[in-house]
């Protein structure tokens, strides 16, 4: 076991079980931060294989039933401590994803979980059913992550995922279609009680929770006095939110005991270890993966070396 983290009760570098699946590793990339998992394999670094080495799972960019063109730019804004984004769920839609992306992920054997978003609970079932048709034969497809909390969409987004009954209905719809694949519900931190949402997801049959999505944030351009993002507020992420994410994961674990995939500000093995310390089963690397294509691979590598 680990020398640096002797208190760890899990092997941070080994495979682990979550719901019906065995995942190859505990360091994942977060949805929206590594595209569809098809870019970056041509990027090199001295002493490194490629950006995918050691990554336990790529959570692919959220897809919806129909393609979406997303929000007008500027869409990203770096502040002193964290990053703001307002991409607006731009994506190619589930049909193209299944026809063009899934076969390539399968061909390369990249472990992936598909992030999906719907505008009605039933849609999570429809999307999952379509993925099952495309990927059920592929051992590297591990399941779906329900994006219930993207704060950037004009309707459907945050309010959708803030209501426990809706969260439960979305999870039930996906669980009804998944068979032996994992259903994770990704929760918003922008609520008074994230444990209440987690409990609702658990009642709906979720195998685990992904916590947390971005915090609602904004910044002002002091030259104009106006918000830097066209939609005024966006999702705040990066190292600054790690303590918030950690507290939310702790709250879920303490109050529900459900498996949690921790996400928020993870840049190093030490950051990941903190999430494992509060009981997370795995971690996702988000903003840091945008900053450096080798970020998640480096975290996995460093954990394995401890």
């Amino acid at each position: 076991m680990s020398n640096r983290y002797p208190w760890l009760t899990i092997d941070p570098a080994g495979p682990f079980n979550l719901g019906p699946r065995t995942f190859p590793g505990r360091v994942w990339t977060a949805s929206g931060c590594f595209g569809y998992g098809l870019l970056g394999d041509d990027i090199s670094a001295p002493g490194r294989a490629d950006p995918f080495a050691g990554i336990g799972t790529v959570v692919t960019k959220t897809i919806t039933a129909a393609p979406r063109t997303g929000n007008p730019p500027p869409r990203v804004w770096a502040t002193e401590f964290g990053a703001l984004n307002s991409i607006g769920l731009e994506n190619m839609g589930v049909e193209r994803f299944c026809d063009e992306v899934v076969p390539r992920l399968v061909e390369r054997g990249i472990p992936f979980v598909a992030s999906i978003a719907g505008t009605r609970p039933e849609e999570f079932g429809t999307l999952t059913r379509r993925l099952v048709v495309a990927a059920a034969a592929a051992p590297c497809w591990h399941g779906v992550e329900l994006n219930l909390s993207c704060p950037n969409v004009a309707r459907g987004g945050v309010d959708f995922g803030r209501d426990p009954l809706t969260v439960r209905a979305c999870v039930e719809a996906a669980r009804g279609e998944t068979g032996d694949r994992v259903v994770l519900a990704k929760l918003t931190p922008n609520v008074a009680s994230i444990a209440e949402l987690a409990r609702a997801a658990g009642e709906g049959g979720a195998h685990g929770l992904t916590a947390v999505n971005t915090l609602v944030g904004m910044d002002i351009d002091l030259r104009t006095g106006r918000p830097v993002l066209p939609r005024r507020r966006g999702g705040y992420s990066g190292g600054a939110i790690l303590p918030v994410a950690l507290a939310k994961v702790d709250e879920i674990v303490q109050e529900t005991g459900l498996p949690v995939v921790g996400v928020g500000g993870v840049r190093t093995a030490d950051d990941a270890a903190k999430f494992f310390a509060v009981g997370a089963s795995a971690v996702q690397v988000g903003t840091a993966q945008m900053d450096d294509p080798f970020a998640a691979a480096d975290v996995a590598r460093a954990l394995a070396a401890q």
Partner: protein
């Protein structure tokens, strides 16, 4: 023949120089852990390592490379570039380089018109160093004399200033924008030039208009707020004409044909963007029905 190193590497390194070349422009020289290269117009993402690390790397344009030495030019525009400007010699850095599509190399005998504004100089400077020849017209535009990195401007380049007031440098400079300078030097019956432009949005737009009026080809280097630099975040989108969706500045660009950019919408301030796109590459969700 030196290797071109035109696909990206993540490289660690140290600052070896970080010096102002003019009132706004700073040259950053980095010594990296491995040799690197680039094509003119490509860029890199730069971050500091350690305590001064920024949440996201910043895109900077590449001036030149030599072995493991990478030279960049930037100006302070926000928090990240301010932090960078304070990095001392020896500071640890991480770069992802080179990235994006380059300006096309010279593939015919048409003269080139190079239009560079401010910190948009590096791509055209390096293009000229590699492919420039007699008959090309290269113009650089600065705010005033102090804004011009005189030591970097190659012999034969023409310079325009927004203001001729004050500062050190040659007298009798053209006052006006860099496209007006080029127009003043190229009569209506000038032979067809191929235009390459890099600089602020108004410069790019004016270059596109000039090229379109004269029926000339034009490539521009586009900029948009960038998240990752390697295509995964979909942050730096640039509108295509006829509401046909987006390019990304980092992957499809930064060099795009001027005819491939929707100039009505490109580069709008945040406050005007929503209204401008209300009928365009839509930002609205498929109408959600009531949720349970």
């Amino acid at each position: 023949m030196t290797p071109s190193f035109t696909t990206a590497s993540r490289l660690l390194g140290r600052v070896v120089a970080n010096e102002a070349l003019s009132s706004s422009m700073i040259r950053l020289d980095l010594d990296l852990e491995a040799p690197t290269g680039f094509l003119p117009g490509q860029f890199c993402m730069v971050n500091l390592e350690g305590g001064s690390r920024m949440p996201l790397s910043r895109p900077l344009s590449i001036l030149r490379t030599e072995g493991s030495r990478l030279s960049l030019l930037y100006k302070v525009v926000g928090h990240g570039t301010r932090l960078l400007s304070e990095a001392p010699v020896g500071a640890a850095v991480r770069v992802l380089s080179p990235l994006g599509r380059s300006f096309p190399e010279r593939d015919d005998d048409r003269p080139r018109l190079l239009l560079a504004g401010g910190v948009g100089l590096p791509p055209l400077w390096s293009w000229f160093e590699r492919y420039g020849r007699k008959g090309d017209l290269a113009c650089f535009g600065g705010r005033d004399r102090d804004d011009v990195p005189w030591g970097l401007i190659p012999p034969g380049w023409r310079v325009s200033l927004d203001s001729a007031e004050g500062g050190a440098g040659p007298a009798g400079m053209f006052v006006g924008n860099v496209v007006a300078l080029a127009e003043s030097l190229l009569p209506d019956d000038a032979p067809a030039h191929h235009v390459l432009a890099c600089g602020p949005v108004p410069l790019l737009r004016a270059a596109a208009v000039m090229a379109a009026q004269r029926g000339w080809n034009c490539e521009v280097s586009v900029e948009e707020r960038m998240g990752c630099g390697y295509g995964v975040c979909r942050g730096c989108v640039v509108p295509r004409p006829a509401a046909a969706g987006w390019w990304t500045a980092c992957q499809d660009g930064p060099i795009l044909a001027a005819a491939d950019v929707d100039w009505e919408r490109f580069g709008l301030p945040a406050a005007e963007a929503l209204a401008a796109y209300s009928d365009g590459p839509s930002c609205s969700a498929p109408a959600p029905e009531a949720s349970a």
